[in-house]
Assembly symmetry: C2
Homo-oligomer: 325 residues x 2
């Protein structure tokens, strides 16, 4: 199975690393909108200019799109799905239906297979919610994120005047998690579920009090949360906050039997040293499924909901029934 990477940031490098753990997957190259001469891939695979991508339609089984959800993927995925089988990690939850329709049109009319919103949320967490809801129709879902770096919130802090750099950690409130795990099915406000920890490098002479106030009062991002702001040096940021750890927990608590007599709690959780590395690993497994579905003539836009789990695995049916069932 030959794949290519389109976009070579953290996620693209993660895909490159993940390919090495999957002997049935071969990486033919990386496409970039930057000057290819300026890029050195970790494993030495060739780098091609993005504008030449259509010269390689015969060489690529699945293209893994590693652009951002804000502006890249809404354009990139539909336009590349006209020429390639594609996988993306589009994660703007509210815009998934629109993105799905655009990609579906492009992929279906050109007999390609596309899989969008792969990763862990959306992705594995969505799968957990779907399985849990299917087997326990009467119950309540909870999703907690963190402890981990939210890149959107870190960016929001960086846009404040006087801020040189910042890292924002989303942290689930332990008491809330415990209440949910106990099967209590509590109603939890935004503030009760997560806290936000901000580590900020200020420019010299900046008004720290103003920066802290602007962070804490920022609507949507911080105003509804208990937020702590810690000013640190640039060295400390580089030393202690260079990576992008993340994770979280999906819990469904429900009942069965006469009068809801029996309580059942299901939980799926992730603790990830690197968000982009792990997301990339999911994308590569999804590329395997996309290649197989395309061979079977299954065209159009799909999500992990539509993928038989066996299609993600390099094992044969016999092997997986023996080892994993």
């Amino acid at each position: 199975m030959k794949i290519a990477i389109y976009g070579y940031g953290n996620l693209g490098r993660g895909v490159e690393a993940a390919v090495r753990q999957n002997p049935d997957v071969e990486l033919m190259g990386v496409f970039t909108r930057r000057d290819p001469a300026s890029l050195q891939t970790e494993t030495g695979v060739p780098v091609y200019p993005a504008e030449t991508v259509l010269d390689y339609t015969a060489d690529i089984d699945v293209m893994i799109l590693c652009g951002g959800s804000a502006t890249d993927l809404p354009v990139m995925t539909p336009s590349l799905a006209e020429h390639f089988n594609v996988v993306d990690s589009f994660d703007t939850h509210a815009k998934i239906p629109e993105h799905f329709d655009n990609v579906d049109r492009a992929a279906f009319s050109s007999a390609h297979t596309a899989l969008i919103s792969a990763g862990w949320d959306p992705g594995l967490f969505s799968l957990a919610r779907l399985y849990m809801n299917s087997v326990l129709p009467e119950g309540k879902d909870y999703t907690f994120w963190g402890r981990g770096v939210s890149q959107g919130h870190s960016d929001a802090i960086r846009r404040i005047a006087g801020v040189k750099d910042a890292r924002q950690y989303t942290v689930p409130v332990p008491e809330a998690l415990e209440r949910v795990r106990s099967g209590e099915n509590p109603d939890l406000s935004t503030r009760q579920k997560h806290t936000r920890e901000c580590f900020v490098v200020a420019e010299e002479g900046a008004d720290l009090e103003r920066i802290e106030r602007e962070i804490r009062e920022m609507p949507n991002y911080f105003a509804d949360y208990d937020t702590t702001v810690t000013f640190i040096s640039e060295e400390e940021l580089k030393k202690n906050h260079a990576e992008l750890p993340h994770g979280g927990t999906v819990i469904r608590s429900g009942t069965t039997g006469e009068g809801g007599k029996y309580k059942h709690t299901m939980e799926f959780s992730l603790k990830l040293d690197s968000n982009p590395q792990f997301t990339a690993s999911v994308l590569v497994a999804c590329a395997r499924a996309v290649a197989r579905m395309h061979t079977r003539g299954i065209f159009g836009c799909k999500t992990l909901f539509d993928v038989a789990p066996a299609d993600l695995s390099p094992l044969t049916g016999e092997e997986m029934r023996k080892k994993l069932l």
Copy 2:
């Protein structure tokens, strides 16, 4: 979607209860090998003698088989799969390949769809292992069971002379769980993973010391575990040990990146007030998928590995992408 239940014990009653939570599923009846007049169903659905089952092939979309794995299902599932779409919860791990082949032959040759080994282990835990292995190829899996009643171990105690009744709880060792969760990837012996707690009702005048020794020294079942034996009265057993709670945890801990630089831990866990009630809920969701796959002409024996998660859900693709993705 019309289903029927074949076998009306704890699991069959669980299916009957689960149907009420799924408005798209209708229960046409229960088949039993006992005298139908001796059975009163919880919801008043009709009871038919097992030997008349072939009179109802036109009335049933999927038959849910609620027999035991030891002697019932190895015969029941292949023979009924010649006439019906079927779902079973066959859970003798070592014999799954053989059972799969037998059911596959019967179902495929008669253009039926069968799904075996549905439940939580095998079932949802198997799915967790498959997803986890697919996205993290380099790592190690652990499965812990409990705290919960093992019916096989309870039965083994009951077969000892002088034992009137017994309940055996399998309990994961908390330290082992913590070491696995931390990503340490320890090698754990059988004894290090689980302990076994036995609550035993002895016959009057029985030699308690001998019973305890026979339990502790029983090969396969108890000899490799730290086992505690507590003698209790029949009343106490009925009062405190009447239900069949269970649960457990699947953890995979793996690495990605150059030299395994990044560590990732995935965990799926269940805490169930009633093992048969929860297993039954999984069976009903699987029956939905079987009915849909059959409509699409997908015949033969399947497991949850072969089922696109969307097929387990009553929601439309649009609804689930909006609500759950």
